[in-house]
Symmetry: C2
Subunit: 221 residues, 2 copies
DNA sequence: GTCTATAAGCCGATAGAC
DNA sequence: GTCTATCGGCTTATAGAC
């Protein structure tokens, strides 16, 4: 059992409290109590409440995007060119699930927090995504485009963002959804992973404007 | 120009303020100022802040689910049996976009609010969805299942929820996303609608476990 | 129904001892 | 680095006049 520094305890407590009840009710006093320290210590280490929240987001997001980039690098240095669509999607989606399954990286808490930060339109998060992580996202979009020859750039862009939406949303709703299922959290997570990768692959494999061949769809049973 | 009651002005102002800057910073004073009334009037009409927020959500959600149900009814009383997948998806997705395009129904504000409420895990919203609107959601899931014969119930369930996630997410991020595009808000919205329906149809038309025929996907360029 | 005024309490941030 | 005590400001909710 490692002894955590006050700074780490504050970050962990912030994560736990936000995951539990959102950003709205979050107070510095709550955090300091939960982290077994005091109000002044938080301001000493982070300067302000907003700066604390930013540090909390940055810590996990750096890990997430590093993992994604590493997997994409491995894939693009591999034998297959262009990469299989499914492999690219897994490189993007699975790191989120790995983090969610590892208690040392915040466990399932972090993805809930991320979804909330998205919905709250955190300026800081938006800035982070359009600067620090923008090149990773662009590289994924390009890899997906290469792996989906029938689709134009625009359509890949839209569908990729829809998939990010689905991923974010399902992670956020995880607690509630897993309760109504009859699986253990582990099983539910594995199922979610498979279903999401299948879903993403299905959505990106189909040609544009299926409306033009509706009859096919209806009769292909 | 209709003269609005104080109650309506309060609800409208609440929507506008939440859409603009989220639930976190929302204060009763802000609302009363924006609605050209005072603090006491809000408590007179709604009793408490939470009750006001609940009324705001319920007003638009009732409209949204009524529209969805009406379109599904029309579809199921029509000639085609089972309904075309695309038509069912449109019956679910388009009412959200209709509301978003109609200033009298809250315009683009409401979908942003809904996304935020989802992410905040509003107990009230969750309860509403799993009681008052549950039967509508179940009917859509059943209609989708009938229209997608190759897919099992479980997979339809997952993919339908992923699509709800994508819809919610993209509506929430609408302002930011439309700014970076080069279209007018109207154009952006229409594009979003088409892309989302195509996306949903693509995701639900593909068979399960595409992984089993990866070679096909890779070479079908 | 609508208002003013105020109660009662929590907030983030900081000063200053150790 | 960590603490206690406190400041100034803002919050929701309510009492009571009109």
């Amino acid at each position: 059992m490692t002894v955590l520094s006050t700074k780490e305890r504050i970050l962990n407590s912030t994560e736990e409290l936000v995951a539990e009840s959102g950003f709205c009710d979050l107070t510095m006093r709550q955090i300091s109590t939960h982290a077994n320290t005091n109000l002044a210590a938080i301001n000493y280490h982070f300067g302000s409440k907003q700066s604390l929240i930013n540090h909390m987001l940055e810590r996990r997001l750096d890990t997430l995007f590093e993992m994604r980039l590493k997997r994409l690098d491995e894939l693009e240095n591999g034998s297959e060119q262009p990469c299989l669509l499914r492999q690219v999607l897994k490189a993007f989606i699975e790191p989120a699930l790995v983090i969610s399954n590892d208690e040392r990286m915040g466990g399932q808490r972090f993805m809930k927090i991320l979804a909330r930060a998205y919905a709250e339109r955190s300026d800081f998060l938006h800035e982070l995504l359009s600067s620090r992580y923008a090149n990773v996202i662009k590289r994924f979009a390009a890899a997906i485009e290469r792996a989906c020859p029938p689709l134009d750039e625009q359509t890949v862009f839209w569908r990729f963002h829809f998939i990010i939406g689905a991923l974010t949303y399902v992670m956020a709703d995880f607690g509630a959804a897993s309760k109504t299922s009859h699986m253990s959290e582990q099983e539910f997570f594995a199922t979610c992973n498979h279903q999401l990768v299948d879903f993403a692959e299905a959505a990106l494999s189909a040609p544009r404007r299926l409306s033009e061949c509706q009859a096919d769809t209806a009769s292909s049973a």
